[in-house]
Point group: C2
Chain length 303, copies 2
Amino acid sequence: MKLVECVPNFSEGRRPEVLDAIVGAMTAVDGVRLLDREMDADHNRAVVTIVGEPEAVLEGVFRGMAKAAEVIDLTTHEGEHPRMGATDVVPFVPVKGVTMDDCVELARRLGERVGKELEIPVFLYESACTRPERQNLAKVRKGQFEGLCEEIGTNPAKEPDFGPNRIHPTAGATAVGARPFLVAYNINLGTTDLSVAKAIAKAIRHSSGGLRHVKAMGFAIKDRNIVQVSINMVNFKGTPLFRVFEMVRSEAERYGVPVIGSEVVGLVPVDALVDCAEFYLRLENFQRDQVLENRLSEDGSDE
Amino acid sequence: MKLVECVPNFSEGRRPEVLDAIVGAMTAVDGVRLLDREMDADHNRAVVTIVGEPEAVLEGVFRGMAKAAEVIDLTTHEGEHPRMGATDVVPFVPVKGVTMDDCVELARRLGERVGKELEIPVFLYESACTRPERQNLAKVRKGQFEGLCEEIGTNPAKEPDFGPNRIHPTAGATAVGARPFLVAYNINLGTTDLSVAKAIAKAIRHSSGGLRHVKAMGFAIKDRNIVQVSINMVNFKGTPLFRVFEMVRSEAERYGVPVIGSEVVGLVPVDALVDCAEFYLRLENFQRDQVLENRLSEDGSDE
């Protein structure tokens, strides 16, 4: 069985009945499973996670976008989070038996259909991008809905990959892309000194010379009297969890600070954890089909 | 979905066509998946691993035993491995959504049916045993086919749990039981000194004062010029892999010997590896439903 995840972000964080309608449109497609839905009133934004076979997910997210275009009006939308569309961003994520290239293909097919049938301009981003400057979502979304109303159709740099070369009057524009599974991973340090967490975050993150697929910030966890290095592992295969953990431990030692624990926020693919067992147990010649559950699902897919 | 594994051992290690017939009888049952089959000519014994929903596995292994009773004759059987029946031993192993008690119940139901329909005496062993002295398979099988021909029916200690109180003239007797998943796990040491591996094996195994669910022996791996502590983890939940690894590392240090690697032989349940990631990453509040694949299979079972 092939599995792809899709995490559409919708510009609605205050009216649960509106999100219900959007989610209902997606899960009405046979084979689409809802993994998670979160609304944030301050951001006025919802993040929905669905998973299933590629064709089912493609159809489901299209229907969700069509519904969002009906029920969300960007001209009256306010919220802290940057946004440019009713459906703001749609990443496809390979989960099982699916490559990043497959997800790029899904992003293109979705973008083409959304452009034609919903008349919403679509920008491809991250692994699906057609211009290097569109890899970074923040750059694609720069100007937000209000700014893009003027820029699309006049600024050649803002010509969409699919759909009309003008913004949709109420549904705005959407970024569609493909990216690896994102693991939210925090490491807790036995000190109240926030500067230690900030220094370690700076040491390990890509932007300031650290590990390629790591984003990190330092925070105080006041009710526990500790500090935390809060990490986005944007590609856990490229930069594995154990390497981040060991680097944080080594940097913390330099300050005489112990690592007292770590935590996974939300979901983590089992491979990210098996990679850690393989590292720490120094496993030789370990094949992933030695994992009983993998063998079972392989057999299942033969039927 | 509930999954149970069953690992019947048959007294046939030389005629592949005989094992084909037995395996074919088992896999003819809808829902029975063959995970592994191994024949050993010296032992004149085959080990077959099947998995599936409890009722399917129960039916499958019964048919395999019926076929084995047809095609194997213990009166002419020779081999190095101790044995007492055409089907010698049948352990049920909980894999998913199934408890040890469920497997004990399966063992009893199978034993009752085999006793009645095949007229083979059945002894319950390990977690399914009805007498403490029958927990240990080696004690149940003591005397083997030849000895039990005389003992069953005369020695009250050899009265079977199910079936006639006399041996089956050609199919002998069978031990049926329930046990945890067995993980074969070896740890390699950077020395040629076999006495180090033997001393460490002695230190960690239950029989000589070590960890409760560990069996271990020391071996030389001559082609690599190293030695190995070869371990049977008979209950990886009770005694986890990381604890064994760390104990071997600590004991090896006392001899100035490094642990150069470890290896899993055959299959390992993913939980045994996730336990290791949780230990080494010092994960706080980690729930197994945070593993993406677990979430997917839960959702699947709701359908």
